[in-house]
Structures are given as C-alpha cells and as structure tokens.
C-alpha cells in the first residue's frame, strides 16, 4: 500500500516537473526579449535540479543529490553572468 502511494507520487512529481521544464523551454524559444530567455534558463535550471532530487529518491542513491547541488550552483553563476551581460554588454570589465 505505502509502496504504491510512494511510486505514484514520485511518478506524478516527475511528470509535473517535466511539464514545467517543457513550459520553461517554450518560453525560452518564444520569449520576446533577451531577459525573458535568461529568466527561462534560470527556471529551467531550478526545475532540472528538483527533477534530479526526485530521481535520487526513486533510485535511492546519494550521487543525484550532489549532481543537483552542482546544477544549482552553475545556474546561479550563469544567471548572474548573463544578467551582468544584459546590463553592461560585457561580463568582465
């Protein structure tokens, strides 16, 4: 019983997060301006981080936690660099 509940909820969470990633990708392709695309990339980073955590619960391995931590850090750095680029036109001054 508890096993069935858990399997269903993990599957539902994965489907939700996959739909969310598809919507963010849609906005990244459509997005009228550059800041929309950068924000869509940031959303995509966060959603993939959460998807990896759910995947780690499904497989029961800790390696996925480390992968999602790395993805979160890379997303932060990438978004900050892109925002700086949009503001100034260059990343390193």
């Amino acid at each position: 019983m508890s096993h069935t509940i858990l399997a269903w909820s993990v599957t539902i969470a994965q489907v939700f997060l996959a739909i969310a990633m598809a919507l963010a990708a849609l906005r990244m392709f459509r997005g009228p301006r550059a800041q929309d695309r950068v924000l869509a990339l940031d959303t995509l980073y966060v959603n993939s981080m959460l998807l990896l955590m759910v995947f780690g619960m499904r497989t029961g391995r800790v390696i996925y936690f480390e992968a999602s931590l790395v993805i979160g850090m890379l997303g932060f750095v990438a978004t900050v660099a892109l925002a700086k680029f949009l503001m100034r036109g260059e990343v390193i001054e």
Binding site: A7, W8, M21, A24, R33, M57, T79, K84, M87
Partner: protein, 131 residues
C-alpha cells in the same frame, strides 16, 4: 510504472508524508512555471518562477529529508544545503535580472516603465557605483 524496490520497508506514515510534500512541491513548481509561460509582461513574469524556488524546493527537499531519514534510521539532513543555497541565491539573481531589464527598457525609452527618479539618480551618482 517502475518499482521502487529499496523503499519496501518504509512505514505508511512516512510514505504518506513523503508523497504529500513531493506532490505539493512539484505541483507548486508547475503552477509557477505555467504562470511564467502565460503572464503578459516581463515584470509580471519574473514573479512566477519564485513559487518553484520557495515552496517547490522546500517541499521536495523536505520530502527527500524525510525519505532518507526514515530509510537510513538516522538523521539525513544534507538536502537542507540545497534549500539554503536556493533561498539565498534566488533574490540575488532575480534582483540583478530585473535591474538589467529595467536598464534596457529605460535605455530604449520604453514608455511602459517609469522614468528614473531624480532623487535616486542623485543618490546613485555618488561613487557608490564603484565600477
């Protein structure tokens, strides 16, 4: 549906709690991203994904902590690192992005954004820019 073999000895209350937090977190992330895809202007859109970075991340981190703590029968709290990190970094990135977008809109003379107030311009005209 594939089977989660390693969680066979998870008690029912833990399975219920984990499922609740998991579905709430993923559902809130989905709602936030739907809002991000549908809202009309950038300054409205920038609010929507924060649903995923606040309670979406919080719910999934909580579910993962309960799951691994009950399975390992010892406290497993390293997932809180991701929660703290996301909570700290999201305001920084979105603030920078919104300011960059505002700067771009003002540089173009977009009539939808308010002009820069003279007071803030004077305050920022000091060496505070530092760049």
């Amino acid at each position: 549906m594939s089977v989660i073999e390693h969680a066979d000895d998870l008690p029912a209350w833990a399975a219920l709690a984990v499922s609740f937090f998991l579905v709430v977190g993923a559902g809130l992330t989905l709602i936030g991203t739907i809002g991000f895809a549908r809202l009309p202007s950038f300054y409205e859109r920038i609010h929507a994904p924060t649903l995923g970075t606040s309670w979406g991340t919080g719910g999934i981190v909580m579910a993962s902590m309960i799951f691994f703590t009950v399975l390992a029968t010892r406290p497993v709290v390293h997932e809180i690192l991701i929660g703290i990190f996301v909570t700290v970094t999201t305001p920084v990135t979105l603030m920078l992005l919104a300011r960059a977008a505002l700067h771009r809109d003002r540089a173009e003379g977009n009539p939808e954004v308010p002009a820069e107030a003279p007071l803030t311009r004077e305050a920022e005209g000091q060496p505070a820019a530092g760049e």
